[in-house]
Every structure is written in C-alpha cells, then in structure tokens.
Symmetry: D3
Subunit: 227 residues, 6 copies
C-alpha cells in the first residue's frame, strides 16, 4: 500500500486502522509513503505532484514480489499510470468504494473533506461509469490534516452530512470520500442504518479478491508505455 503523501503520521495511523480489517490470515499489508510530494491531497494539482512518486513505489513493490498495490487516497492519484507500468493489480479506494456501493444500493452519496475535492469526485464517478448512481458529493469542510485534531467533530460532521444525503439527495448508501476517515464507517453505519463504505479497507479486500481470482487490470486498457 502506497501513501501518496509525505506526512509520515498517516503511515502509523493507517497501519493501526488496518488491524481492524478482517483480512485473510496470510495477507500482509506493507504501508509505504512517498518521500517527495505533497503533505496532503485536496486538489488535482496535488494529485499530479504525487502521481509520479506513487507509480515509482508501486513499480518497486512489484519488483519486491508484492501481489497487489493499493493507493491510500480516495482520489486514486496515479492509478491509470501505475496500472500501465506493472502487471500486478493496482487498486484505488475511490474506485473500489464506489463500485462496492453500486453493488449494494441503487444510489449513494460520497461525503468528503473540503468542497475543493467535490468536482474531482464527480469526475471519478464519471470515469468509473457510476455517475448515474452518484446521488451527491458532499463535504464536511475540514482539511485532511485537521481530521485527527478533533475526531469527535469529524465524526459528527460526517454523520450530519450523511443524514442530509439520505434525507435530501435520495442516497441509499454512504461512501466515505477520504481515506483519512478510515475507521469511522461503523460509527456512522450504526446511526444511519444504511451501508457506509470505508474506502481503504474496501480497497484492501478488493485487492485480495483480485489476487485470489488471479485477475489484474487488462493490458489492452492499460498497455505498457512504449518505451
């Protein structure tokens, strides 16, 4: 798993949170952060800054013999490029979460951090072919790096926006729109009584699924760069 940001703090948090995910006993998740790039990602600009470094780490992961790669950011920065340069499956939490939401509901809302990222999320839904299922994209107006400062505030804001999405936007399920929310899904799910999808664990389980089914990205769709 690649953290596409240079903020090391997230590495430990991610490791901690992944312990709560029910994986296969022989699944081992190695978390690595890029050494150069943005401290957090809340724009396409920062996605572009991160992408080359994400791809490099994934390529190194393949060389080390890892079975799959997961990008630890809802925006899936570098996903298409990484899929071109490696053979192992590369999974993005944004795609994994939105497809899983499509599987268990007719329409879902994504609740994310800042307003800034809402156009990006709508574009992702469009690219992944699920835009007709996207009821709305909402934000709690808290920057990524502040999420942990006041977890209770984050949690309550998420709950509030999730309720609005269900009441006003016709959503049947909620997708948490930032991997910085990892671990908060069950709190929300218990209170809103609809599926709440946690993108990072979903991506890791999706990677397991692909590896176990001997599947990876199509090399027609993601061909090796010519040189």
């Amino acid at each position: 798993m690649v953290n596409p940001i240079t903020t090391k703090m997230f590495e430990d948090m991610t490791r901690e949170e992944l312990k709560a995910v029910k994986l296969k006993p022989d699944t081992k998740v190695i978390v690595e952060s890029i050494s150069e790039g943005p401290p957090s990602i809340e724009s396409m600009y920062e996605e572009y800054l991160a992408a080359p470094h994400v791809i490099r780490l994934i390529r190194e992961g393949e060389e080390k013999g890892y079975d799959a790669a997961v990008i630890n950011c809802f925006g899936d920065p570098g996903l298409a490029g990484a899929r071109e340069v490696v053979e192992i499956p590369v999974v993005g939490p944004g795609q994994a979460a939105m497809l899983t939401a499509s599987a268990i509901s007719h329409s879902f809302s994504v609740v994310s951090v800042l307003k800034n990222v809402l156009p990006l999320i709508r574009e992702l839904a469009q690219l992944y072919g699920v835009e007709s299922k996207l009821a709305s994209a909402r934000s709690i107006d808290v920057p990524v790096l502040d999420l942990e400062k006041d977890v209770e505030k984050t949690r309550n804001a998420l709950l509030e926006e999730s309720k609005k999405a269900l009441r006003e936007d016709g959503a049947e399920a909620i997708v948490l729109g930032c991997t910085g929310f990892t671990g908060l899904a069950s709190f929300i799910q218990e209170r809103v009584n609809v599926p709440v999808i946690d993108p990072l664990p979903t991506a890791v389980k999706m990677a397991e699924l692909l590896v176990d089914l001997n599947l990876s990205q199509s090399k027609i769709g993601y061909p090796k760069p010519p040189k």
Copy 2:
C-alpha cells in the same frame, strides 16, 4: 449458495469447482438446490419460475445463521426480492462479475450460452449501471444442460467468441456469462491475455468481502415488504 435449478448434477459439480477457489480458511460454502422449479435457466420465464423458490431457500439460510447468500446463476434470478426479505448480503454472480470487470477494464464482453439470454444480459448491465462498459454480449450457442457433454467443445467455443469480442467489439476483458462455465476462466485467460472473469467464484469472493467489511444491501433500496 442457492442453485436456482432442480438439476442435482450441478450441485456436485459446483461443490467440486468451488474447491479450486481461494477462500478464507474459515469460509464454508453450503450449496443447496431448489426442489421445485426449472431444470435450467435460459429465459426470463424460467427466472420467474425459479425466483420464489430461490428466495425461500435464502430466507431459510438466514434463519440457519448463514452470513451471506449467493445465487448460482448469471441471471441473478430473484436477487432484488431476496435482498428485500433478508438482512444478510445477497450476491448475484452477474452483478459481481460485471462490476469486477468494470474495476479492471474500460469495457468488457459477456460470452454466454444461448442467443436467447443476450437481451437479459444487456438488461442486467443496464440495471447494474454498467451498460456503457458492455462492449457486447455474445453466445456460443450451446444450451446449459449440454455444456458438460463436450467440455472441450464448450471451451473452444468460449475461446473463439472471446477472441472475436476482443478483435471486433473493442472489449478489454471477458466475463463468462453463465455459472455453468465455472472453472473454464483460466483456460481462456491464458490464451487471450486479458482478464477473464468467472462469475461464481467472483460472487463468492464478493460475499466474503461484504461480510468482512460488515456491509449488506441498503434497506432503503431493498426495503422489507410491508406485510
């Protein structure tokens, strides 16, 4: 797992084929067939004949404490109704396979048994929101109950149609369009060099994924019938 047909032969075959799927060590798949209904499913008419019995078995499964249900037919007969009456996740191989194909390719083709089922497959793609990803639906013109009579013929016909889908229809991946094809995906995948998705194993892994992530169908989208 519910076999939506009365042909017992398929029960043993399914059990055998599931052994090859890499499941979690503590995952146990119980295969049961409906006792009344069609011998095979190649039309909406037969889906309707099977659906009430499929739903009854799934409800019984929930009462017995099973964690999830999988319907053993690409047409996902009874899926929406079953999701209404139970709380545990109900997975259809058609939906699981087409969403997985969407995750790893930009467009895919479904290769199925008889021409008869092609309109049904296109309708499923529409309902599941992946019609823009469906490059084509093709058939090998062999009825379900004859698939095993000449496995080599089945395999070669599948390979032939898969190649056509890649060459003529712009597909980047192949979805096997019948759970009677279970076990043939790797043969095709080795020869066409693109992902070939086997719907039944994919559905079982998807059920694992949902259970491990504590997710099930939205009860807004699949509400309990009023009486």
Copy 3:
C-alpha cells in the same frame, strides 16, 4: 387482463372502472385474477411470487384465443417472461403509461402508493429507456389495500404529491403509479392542468393499438424459452 393478486375485490372494481374507458365497440376485456400468490404487490418479492401465476393465466388466455394480454399492476410483474411464452402482445401498465407520458411531455413524475415501491419504479424507467424523462418518483404513503378505505384521502394525497412534483421536481405531467388508482386521473387532471396518465386504461388502449396495427413483441427480444 390478468390481476396479479388474489384479492378478488379488485376484480369487480376493475371491471367497473373499465366501463368508463372509451374502447372500440368490439373490444371485450376479460378480467381474471391469479388463484395463488400475494394479496397485493408492493415489493419485488411479491412481484416474484405473482409472476409465474400471471404467466400461466396469459398462456391460457392465448389458448382461449384472446388477442392481447394486460397485466393489472404498475410494476408489470412477469411482463418479460409472459412475452417470451406467448405470441399475442402483452402490455404492462407501467410501460404503457411511462411511454405515453414521454410522448406528450419532456418530463413526468410517477406518484405511487408506498415509499417501498419507488426504487422499483425507478428501475422500470431505466429498463424502459425513459429514465432521462423521469423527474421524480413520489409516494402518498398509503398501502394498496387501504386505497379504497378512504377514497377522498387517497385522492387528496395524490393531488398533493402531484402538485409538489410539478412545483419542486420540474415535472410536466403526472403518471399515477398504481393501477389501484384507476379512475382518479380526471379528478387530478382538472386540478393541476397537466396531463395525468391513468396506467390501466392506457394499457388497455395500447393493447388495442397494437392489435389494430398487427404488432406484437419482437421474438428476437423476447424469444421462446428453449424447452
């Protein structure tokens, strides 16, 4: 015409209401109810319970020499399967009403009984290719079997939701979303000044249209089941 429910009361009501529909003098509508199945339909589960019995009655109707079949439920339960097994045109009120609404408006809303059925109605619109015309699906929160208990309440609730659809959702026409509403369209239409489409009479007139034009469902799209 097939009533897909076992509640005989509806049979007489339907016969009564059909008297008010302007049919050709030689058109005769025979109303029959299924003898086994759900008392009313407000879920996919109940649609599946009804479907095999609906199809059996339609097949018998064809054998008796009837010219067309109409399913007396907005959800069109069993429609696709019935179209496969008979040659005579089979008409569903849901499809007939939504296509007629598409012919005379740019966008319409469906007002139905319970919230439960709204996802089904949206799926029908999707399958019938009119989802871009569906402004909204709304409910009056009255179960089918209570519609007749307080007709005035039903009527007023319908009027209320219809007005909201016009004011808030951008609808240009209203489709009554349950054949239990038969006969109430003119009351609403006089008050909202836009077309209000009554699904059952529309389906009967559509059946006349198809018979008079010597048309029936395509047997490529609805092929005879192989055995």
Copy 4:
C-alpha cells in the same frame, strides 16, 4: 391530418392507405395538404419551409372542432410549435412510431429514404429520449417522390435494408422511416418475422388513444406563445 408538402398526389394515396387501418367506427380522418411549401421533405431546410404552414392548418383544424392533429411526415415538421399553439393533441409519426417500437422491443432500426435524412432521424431519437434503443438508421437511397415510381423496387430495398439491420446492427424491430412507405409494413413483417412499424397508421392510432384517454400535450412543456 396535415400533409406538410404541396404534392397533392400524396393526399389521395394517404386517404386510400388509411382505409386499411383499423380505426374506431366513429373516427374520421380529414387529410389536408399545405398550399405553400416544399414538394417533399428530405432535409431540415424543407422541414423549416413546411413548418409555419403545417402549424397554420393545425390551428384551423382546432377551430373547426377536430379532436386531434397528425402531421404526415416522419420528421414531425412543426410538431413542437403546433403543440404550443393548440390545445388538441398533435401527434408526429416519427415520435409515435419510435415510442411504439420501444414498447415492444429492446432496440430497433429506422429504414428511411435518402442518406440525407439519417442525421435528422438520429436527432429525433435523441429528442424523444429513445436514442439508447436506436440500433441504427439506414436508407434505401430512393427520393420520396420516386417511391411510387417502382413500388416493387421500393419494397425490395426496404426488405433488404431491414434484413441488414436485423443481422448486422442488433435491431429487434424495424421502423419505416418515411410516411411515404405507408402500407408496406405487412409485406416486410411477413418476411423478417419481427415487428415492422408503419409510422402513419401508428400516429393515427396514437391520436385515437390520446383522445379516448382525454390526454393532450402538457402546457408546461409546450406553453402558449406569449403573444
């Protein structure tokens, strides 16, 4: 019924062909041609030339007490404008035929006169919301005014293109794409075994259906011009 062209010959032909349509005994069709405008319509330019005159005739028809208006051209020239200025339902054969095709098939092809009109037909399908059902638009390369010169040639060319549409384009039904083809549908239908929709009779029956159901175009969607 308004003939949107000045070629009087078509008037008699249309009257003759309408005799074969099974109408209600009390339905009377009055056929009138515009006195100024194009001799035939095979372009948007000619549609625009015809439209103001079509609308004037329809307005006069309403004043004379007619119950509905039908425009005798597959391109539905003047349809939206006519619907604005009158209260009686105005029906276009292009819309009536394509919606009827949508009702009885999953996809259809339109076979028309000249290549020139194919972009117009695709635009109509888009406007009427059925473009996802339009398998293809094909032409027989015969101008409208030559259709009657060699009816057998016309018929055979229609049959040929219809067969291609079924074989190559995935159509399940055929829509004749010119009201100059009126009367040829049964010949084709008997030979291709799928529904062949004749736009003019379909439009007349659709007008009957709307009148009998007391429906007309929505005045929200087709508001009266302000002065």
Copy 5:
C-alpha cells in the same frame, strides 16, 4: 449576422454592442434583420416562423461573399437548415455559448427571459450533447421586448437568478440565455466571480475561429437538400 426578428430597434443595439467585442481588426460584422417574421422569439412557434427567412438571408450572405453567418438568437432558429444550404460556417449563439461553457466549467446554468423558453433550452442542450453539463435553466420572467425598458431591473434579475443557480443548482458558470442580454455579462461576472458567457459575442468569436481554421459544418451531417 442575421437578426431573426423584424424589430429593427434591435439592429442598432446589436451594432452598438458589437463595438465592445474584441474582434480581429479585419473582421467586419454586417447586421441584417429579416423583413417578415415574428417581432421577437419566445417559443418554438416563433422560431418556425423566423427560420425560412433566416435561411434566405444567410444564403444571400453567402452569395455576397460573406465568410460566415451568425444567427442573433439564443434558440439558434433555422441553424440546421441554414447549414444544409450554404458552405460557409453558420454559428448559433446557443450552441457556441453552451460549448464554451463546457470548455471552462464542469456544469453551467442558463438564465433566460421567460419560463416559456426553458423547455427549448433544455432541448438545445440535449441536441448539442451538453445536457449532462446543464445544471439548470432559469428565467427572469421578463419578455424580450421589455428587456430594454428597465435595464437595471433586467440586470438585477439576471444577477439574482445567477446567484441562485450557483448556490442551489450546482452551477460553476452562467450562460446568458438570450442575445437580448448582450453586454450585461461583465456586470454579472464581476459580482458572482465565475465565468458569465455572453452568447452573441461568443458566437462572433467562434465564427472567427472557424474561418481562421478553415473549418465549416460537415456536409455529411448537414447535406445539401436533394433539390
């Protein structure tokens, strides 16, 4: 440039307003009004009345050696027909403005004169392929011929509806939905801080762009009428 209305007053106004547009030094805009037709356009009916006269003037313009034609009305009356009969590029402000809005935003709203024209605007967006980008169509409820009576009122109403579109409809840009608004864009843009697109100047610049790039409408898509 063709004014598709007979109200001469607009001719001078248009000439005045075009002076403010930054054109190439050698670009000369000749403004001409149709001599017969509607005084203003606020319905499809009036578009049809204007279209034949618009096309005649454009044809004359081509004969005089003009390089391009622009229709001075947001509804682009006669556009498709004019493109068929001439070789020089014909530009409609509606299309030019909506495509330009698509280029610089993910979604935009059109603010126009009367409610009457909103269905027309939605249909244009559909035909031009930008309906998924159209956040909403709104009106200020002032008829075209009253726009100049109280310019301040017009301006403030435009500003008000623009703000609502941004706040309530998710628009990222505003398209002025009537060429009678020419010159008001900068007032609004300064106050809402998003791009405000003025359709007439945009159409003139688009005509320059096409001429300079030696481009015109495709004669496959807009073929010469057969006679």
Copy 6:
C-alpha cells in the same frame, strides 16, 4: 504554450507551424518545453511524469504576465491541475478540438498515433462530455517520435484511417489526435471533404477567444488548492 516533453526538436517545429495559423496581429505565442520529464507522451504514465513540470511552467507564465496557456499535447496533461493554480485560461488541444468538432458535426472520429493512447482518448471524451459524439478512436500505429521521419507515410496513414472512420464508423468529421500532426489537417481535409480539426491551432484560437471574451476557467470547478 507549454511543450510537455523534453524533446527540443518539437519546439522549433511548433514555432514554424504556428506561423501558418491565422492569429490576431497582436497575439504572440511563446513556446517553452519542460526541462525534465518524458521525451514524448503515449501513455498515462508519461502524462503523469510531465504534469508537475507543465504546471510549473504555466504558473511561471502567469507570473510573467502571459494572457493564457496552451498545453501542446492532445492528452491535455496537467490541464485540471494547472487550471487550479492559475487565474489565466488554460486550454488543452484535446478539449478544444473535440468541442470544436462537436460544434460542426454530429459525430467525429479521433485518429491518433499508437493504439496505446486510444483508451486515454476515450476517457478524455467522457470527461469532456462528448462521448456520445465520439464515433471512434483510431490509430495509425506510428510513435510520436517517428512522425517526422517519414512525413508522407504519416500523411497517408492519417488519410487512410480518416477514410475508414468516415466509411465504417459513421464519423462526420475528423479530429487529429496528436499535436505532432500539426499542419497536416488541410491535406486530409481536401481529400475527405469533411472538416479535419487540427488540435494545436484550434487550442491557440480558443485561447484567443477566451481572452477576448474575458473568460477563464471557473474557480468553483477548478478551485485554488487549499495551501
């Protein structure tokens, strides 16, 4: 104008070719290449490598007082990110060319260099909202850096694929799918008699259009990154 590749040779070529474009007399195009990044772009991987450097150059351009930026690559690498960080309009040739094609045809094909880039081009069409207009994406199977080695071969291959697109795919116009083709459009256009859109000159003219109309990307859609 930013060349998103390090191959300096292209700089001079681009300057040369831009001389042939009819710009306003006071328009000055400054061509600069990135100093670090890929030698050519034929994959998402290379787009990601180029993007951060492209954005840096564009930011510097804004600081130098340039009025607009154009990215010299059909894939529009870095476009969204650049639009976030600057206020001046940033134009991508892929978007400019596809929107211009949409303005003058109902459907167009893109003919590009290698098969590798076809999925990227289809994704661009999807993002830009013109996928319903994209008839096909085709390649001539020549890498970017070989285009100039045998210009005649390049030209003939382009002509060949363009003809196929018109004959087999239903295209009405051709978009050259690589800015390395700059200057070849007129050769093709003269031979196929439909508009052939040259992306780089189109982008430059589009930049002029935006500057002259005082328009830039919406800051709601492309908000400034939070830090």
